[in-house]
Amino acid sequence: MSYDVIIGLEVHVQLQTVSKIFCGCSTAFNPDQPNVQTCPVCLGLPGALPVLNAEAFRLAVKTALALNCQIAGFTKWDRKQYFYPDLPKGYQISQYDLPFSHDGHVDVVTEADGGAVRRVRILRAHLEEDAGKNMHDESGRGRDSLVDLNRAGTPLVEIVTHPDLRSAEEARLFLQDLRLLLTDIGVSDCNMQEGSLRCDANVNLHVHQPDGSKVATPIVEVKNINSFRFTEQAILHEVERQWELYQKTKQTIKDAPKSTRGFDPARGVTYAMREKEEAADYRYFPDPDLVPVTVTDEQIATLRGELGELPAARRARYRDQYQLSAYDAGVIIDQGREYSRYFEVVAEGCGDGKQAANWLTQDVQRELNERGLTIATFPVPADVLADLLKRVTNKQLTIKAAREVFGALLEGEETATTARIEAIVAERGLAIVQDDGAIDAAIADVIARNPKPVADFKAGKQQAAGALIGQVMRAVKGADPQQVRERLIAKLSE
């Protein structure tokens, strides 16, 4: 017997607004100073009223457009009612039957079958307010629990997919793509450690029966997974657990309602969460304190225009325009739009996309990491790096020399310029010597002085050429090793 894994995700993404969705409080991540980013509105004080932050709505629409969703012309706010200490009003302002967007998709390039594409349909994306955070005493001494409402009222888009994902790996790839997409368009920082991207996974199995039919196991929702790796691990564990359970009990979706489980990253297992005694009735109804929002086609068109080129399109363009591998294109695009722009300036300027990609994925990346910089604060501007690499393309500098210049540029106090490149090359005599006569003279001299390696080479020992090349290079400082090698071998083969 075999089975298919069926996964749908519910992803909560905090939008990158300066202020909260229904009040003017800051959305900054500030766990060390609880309850300082609060006001009567987000504290749910008597008499306080919400007012929609237009920027939150704008970012939400951009999010949905990037997910290829339809945007509703009319949308409203509903109260989702339940009691919990992190919810000061006793209800969450959310969207129920008329979400602002629906029916989109994300195409995920899987790692199976040489990069097959999995289309993950988006059921809906709606906007809501985040809750605060409860902090329970974990000492076991039964101390008071505390509530921090700094996060309460942070704008949150909930993205609900259809159950279109077929493996834990696909789920992880989907989340990675989603993060790339949303950080790229600048709607969220998607920082999972700080909780700006959180994921619930609905998992079950479709077990193949001997008669060719399939039987579904009960759906399990694994809640509040806070990393991509944990998502993958949680699903893998859940699949294994459900498969064992099915073999033992033959329980199907008809025998048990959907249940909720948590994930323990330390043990790599999911665990049963306390079930509510009866199914929750959130008693949704339209929030009378807020007015519905209408969205015009013009507004949608404007926001769509602001999206610019999305990562998938950029990846394809880098392949076609610069002949980059999917991997290199991915590494660059993953660093965000500014990094991509930097790459493009370097690639255009030096005329060699692959070389530019090599530098960006290795040298530049390494320096940024070591110096704790971002590309925006990197002291070598894109046009200067382009100038440096163009000298390599034009065979004015060796790669080794270019690295030396690059290092010297980074040691300088000021922002690098092309004039500095010129000066460093001159000071250190790094320019490639184009004097064929001098090289040939040195080759003749080296051959004359080294009969043994010459004889070895002629006897078929290719590696004997290495020592000879080294001697020529020492004799003609700044010679291009490639050129030296070619001319030496030609001479020896005469």
Binding site: P40, L43, G44, L45, P46, G47, A48, L49, P50, V51, L52, R79, Q81, F83, P85, P88, K89, G90, Y91, V147, D281, R283, Y284, F285, P288, D289, L290, V291
Partner: protein
């Protein structure tokens, strides 16, 4: 000494502006009246003597220095105890908020302070504005100054009684289903519920958000116009506040409306209306006729569903609005809780009164899955039909005139065990809240038993100017607003 408090608001403002009377003197007189008479009226939950005198003196000093004072000129005002003021307790007449002090001020409080009001104290009310007699206050029962055995009406019981008892010239109330107009009628004062969205609800503790409006009480129409003028207008902190210019209601107040068309609805004179109330209202209509107004029969066919619709929508919203009082963040917290669920249940169980619990349970039921469409959604549809009735009527008439409440003030305790009888006292006022239109209750005379009867006028949305001018026409032609309860005569 003839009390300043017997003077109508218009005259008080004139005297204050002219410097004939200081705000401090007037405030002192209010405070004296409160200390003499409020032990029997029990309109106030909290009076801050020092603070109100300080406000009054500061206004007087500014006037003496030639600075402009707002249009309220230092008039003392009572505030219903569910409108937040920074640093002041806001109990909503509930044990739940017995010790709650608001850290911020409502929009209307900011506006009134800027307009030169002296905020003397906090007026009693039915708990969380739920009730029609004031008897649901957790702290005290306010009496009707016309007969201390009787109800002042509710839920703005203290606000109406304070003005009727000549304790303050004006007060603020809130009206969700008649909570300003019904007590105004029973106490013989003017009470106005503005159009929904005319006055910001920011800082008004919500009962039913889609119905609540803050409005003025005063002894005369001019006072109500003045107070409305001081607080109406757009507030970006309330998404339902409407951005429309506010006319000077007092400027045009004394211009009679030529060719005034008054709608009279058959439904207002149907079964349930006491004869003595009907008689006073009919006489009031005659007054309008004698002033040249045209009386036109209209129909409000869906108004018979108003009470039923109201008792689905208002409790539904209330059940949600009152969820925040759970003992975790502020307000009453039980001392006996075990689990979290227990903490919620006990804190709420201990601190809410019977009527509040009844309405929360009604609302929770109406919003429950399986019942939502049948009750809440259906109620919203009928609400729309009620609004349509008014739209059709206002195509033909300028105002609709009729009774405010089916009977005069009933005896305290008489209806406390009969919620339905209590609910029906708002039968004529609820439709205006459901439709969002403005309504006013003005004194129309006394019943044979000597109790005040109000006349209700209603107008199209944002037609407060018409409403007030029509009300003033009647007032100018009669003397009912000059009637003062015997206990308040000095």
């Amino acid at each position: 000494m003839s009390s300043l408090l017997n003077l109508p608001a218009a005259e008080l403002v004139t005297r204050l502006a002219a410097g004939d009377v200081t705000s401090a003197a007037l405030t002192e007189e209010c405070l004296a009246a409160i200390s003499q008479r409020d032990s029997s009226v029990r309109a106030f939950l909290n009076v801050d003597v020092e603070r109100s005198l300080a406000q009054a003196r500061s206004i007087d000093a500014r006037r003496a220095a030639g600075e402009s004072i707002g249009i309220l000129q230092g008039l003392p005002i009572a505030v219903k105890d569910l409108i937040c003021e920074e640093g002041v307790s806001c109990t909503c007449a509930s044990r739940m908020l017995e010790n709650y002090i608001s850290p911020y001020s409502a929009h209307v409080i900011e506006r009134l302070r800027a307009a030169g009001a002296v905020l003397v104290g906090r007026a009693n009310m039915d708990e969380f504005a739920m009730g029609s007699s004031g008897e649901n206050s957790a702290f005290q029962v306010t009496a009707n100054p016309w007969d201390l055995e009787r109800t002042p009406g509710g839920s703005s019981s203290g606000s109406a009684a304070a003005v009727a008892g000549r304790l303050t010239p004006m007060s603020l109330g809130s009206d969700t289903g008649g909570s300003i107009r019904q007590p105004a009628s029973l106490c013989g004062v003017v009470g106005l519920k503005p159009t929904y969205g005319r006055v910001s609800r920011y800082g008004l503790v919500a009962f039913a958000s889609s119905l609540d409006q803050i409005g003025p009480f005063a002894s005369d129409v001019h006072g109500a116009a003045l107070l409305l003028e001081a607080m109406a207008g757009h507030d970006p902190r309330d998404s339902t506040s409407v951005d429309r210019p506010v006319p000077s209601y007092t400027n045009s107040l004394n211009e009679p409306l030529k060719g005034l068309r008054i709608g009279v609805a058959r439904e207002h004179f149907a079964e349930g209306l006491d004869d003595e109330v009907a008689e006073v209202v009919r006489r009031a209509l005659d007054v309008y006729r004698s002033l040249g107004a045209e009386l036109i029969d209209i129909e409000l066919p869906h108004s018979k569903y108003a009470v039923a619709v109201y008792y689905l929508i208002a409790p539904s919203e209330a059940s949600s609005n009152l969820a925040r009082y759970e003992g975790i963040h502020y307000g009453h917290r039980t001392e006996k809780a075990g689990s979290l669920a227990d903490l919620y249940a006990r804190s709420r169980g201990e601190a809410f009164g019977t009527e509040v619990k009844r309405r929360i349970m009604l609302g929770v039921y109406a919003l429950s899955s399986g019942y939502y469409d049948q009750y809440y959604v259906k109620a919203l549809k009928v609400r729309r039909l009620i609004r349509n009735d008014f739209d059709a009527a206002f195509a033909k008439v300028d105002v609709i005139a009729g009774p405010v409440t089916p009977s005069t003030a009933f005896k305290l305790g008489e209806r406390t065990s009969d919620p339905m009888a209590m609910y029906l006292s708002d039968i004529y006022t609820i439709p205006a809240n459901l439709a969002g239109i403005p309504g006013i209750s003005i004194p129309a005379g006394l019943s044979p038993s000597g109790l005040p009867v109000g006349l209700q006028l209603q107008a199209a949305p944002f037609a407060e100017e018409t409403l007030l001018r029509a009300a003033r026409m009647f007032e100018a032609a009669t003397d009912h607003h000059r009637l003062i309860p015997p206990m308040a005569r000095s």
